[in-house]
Symmetry: C2
Subunit: 342 residues, 2 copies
DNA sequence: TCGACTCTTGAAATCGATTTCAGACTCGGC
DNA sequence: GCCGAGTCTGAAATCGATTTCAAGAGTCGA
């Protein structure tokens, strides 16, 4: 048919249809202002040539890129896959692409970030990592206006950035209150990684709920974890070696809860007969574990959807300032938590 | 300091340094050919103005985009997160961005794909979804040369596309041989979604291994699943209702294995005492389940890394034709499989 | 002292689409 | 028959960087 060499440009279409490139462009982006007959001719030419707009060219002229970048601390962590799915589902219908950057938990996150900011790489940014150095975020750093940016899941104290998160402290309180309500008097906690805002919020919620229930807050019952399966299993070893064990544990992530349960059950301890466990996240497998895991549900898809909406809102100006959206959490009682043995 | 209005362009830097834009450009992309003193002046000017190259402009001129798109069937599936992590880790140091498109398992995958092909959106494409309509992939469809493309995890029979995958049939054979070796005579299989190439390869491997071991291949013992936890639990209900049950099951995914085990254990059946189970994938939680899950290990990060390398190779011409890389798998025997009860 | 060469550098064309600006044309009303 | 308003269209400028081409400045040997 036509030559298959060089990709067809708007010039080719214009020539083919006997009009100017301006008209072709109008047919594509604002058909209404083009006369019906002309439009038909152009559309016919487009179809015949198989023309497709060249994004780089359009982006250059329009001064936008059509993509949003999501900065995640660790892409391998399945926790983010569902969130990103929500982001993607929101972005696609609005014509935006999703660019993913994995900071690999590294301190070079700042560098990564700088790379994306103001370089015309993306129109907006969703930050899922609260450990980025503040210096990089302060407007004026590098002398260049920063693109719209929202921070999701995590947040940064004292930094006025649009934000989507769940009510972490409330989740912790729900979990601990649940355990206390079952009759547990000795309740422990496996924490997230030190320094993380989520970790701190959940610890704070745990302490608050313990105090409210009039229970002891024993520091030895706070096991240091990092959200991972292995850190849960590690905490289990500490717990097993302990003289005076807590009878119930609230874990800051479902993965740690699963790691803990797996390890204690391998040691012959039974859940929930010997120890009750509550997780956080409600990952999909939680309901299928043995025993099914009681947990605090966090709607990950919704987080992604709302974060994406928020950036888009910032971009088109319908969202201004630094709104904060705190999503509710919910306790899901399953079989891993029960009244303590008499 | 300087005005904070408009982002600084290469023109500004050129003016600041008293050179032409050509020289500034050379300093950035090929410093060697610029005189040392001039180069220093330009670098100084770049630092002073905080200049950063505008990607759309560069891309337009260079006729590349600097990004690779990964088309995944379902981003919410954590199976892909580790693969994508490998892709990202390989792409970043080479200066490429990772663009992610979620086809949402929909038939519109073709449309999605078309959107990315030849539109100057990406320099290459990694396809993790084998269900794309072939018509969209045939070079010449739409009259435009297709960008480099590799298909990973899955593949398409009779389509000569660069390909990275694991040896699925061998994995199935390993699993079944392992169960047969333990003494099981009645071995069943929970399959993946119908029509999927992975499903078919694993079924074929299962049948081959059963035949080789001289065991019966009973159709009733092939449970239809779709890789999901719930489908594993569903198969468990069928299995429980069965008069003559297989004593061992090979599941085409760890998630189905976990769903199966969770459901039968909830019904009072013990694993591996009453039934042995082997999964496929070796997802991270497999080792922490109760009992720890025996499975066929599939190196997901490696798949991502190799797929990314392959596209990059196609782009820079070091890879030609349609190479196929079949990664080995490995059986990991844990506690969910044991000799059948006497 | 005069080419022949190399080394640097800048002017200008280029990538492909969008958009402004103004011109051409139509139509209705007076 | 003329004028103004309204419609539609094309020429050309523009987005910001890269790269070709050629020219100017030295260098070196004969």
């Amino acid at each position: 048919m036509t030559e298959m060499k060089r990709p067809v440009t708007i010039q080719d279409v214009a020539r083919e249809a006997g009009v100017s490139t301006a008209t072709v462009s109008r047919v594509m982006s604002n058909p209404g202002i083009v006369a019906a007959t002309t439009r038909a001719a152009v559309e016919e030419a487009i179809a015949r040539t198989g023309y497709a707009v060249h994004h780089s060219a359009r982006n250059l002229r329009r001064q936008r890129t059509g993509s949003i970048v999501a900065l995640v601390p660790n892409l391998a962590n399945p926790f983010f896959s569902q969130i990103l799915s929500g982001v993607s589902a929101t972005l696609s219908p609005r014509g935006y692409h999703l660019l993913i950057a994995d900071t690999q938990n590294g301190p070079q996150a700042g560098g990564q970030l700088l790379h994306y900011l103001g370089h015309g790489v993306a129109d907006g940014l969703i930050l899922f990592d609260g450990t980025v150095e503040r210096a990089h975020l302060a407007p004026g750093a590098g002398d260049r206006p920063l693109p719209p940016m929202v921070i999701a899941c995590e947040w940064m104290e004292g930094l006025a950035l649009p934000n989507v998160r769940v009510d972490n402290a409330a989740g912790a309180r729900l979990a601990v209150a649940h355990l206390a309500g079952l009759g547990h008097r000795r309740i422990g906690h496996i924490t997230g990684p030190a320094g993380n805002v989520l970790t701190e919020a959940r610890i704070a919620g745990t302490r608050a709920a313990l105090a409210q229930a009039g229970l002891e807050t024993r520091e030895a019952w706070f096991f240091a974890g990092d959200f991972s399966l292995d850190s849960g299993a590690f905490a289990a070893r500490e717990w097993l070696a302990m003289a005076e064990r807590p009878t119930a544990l609230f874990c800051a992530s479902d993965e740690m809860a699963a790691g803990f349960i797996g390890a204690v059950q391998a040691a012959g301890v039974e859940v929930p007969r010997d120890v009750s466990v509550v997780g956080f996240d409600n990952i999909e497998i939680a309901a299928h574990l043995t025993p099914p895991l009681s947990t605090v549900r966090q709607q990950r898809t919704t987080i992604g959807v709302e974060a994406a909406r928020m950036v888009l809102g910032c971009i088109d100006g319908t969202v201004t300032g630094a709104p904060e959206l705190v999503l509710p959490v919910e306790l899901i009682a399953r079989r891993s938590s029960a009244a303590p043995a008499a």
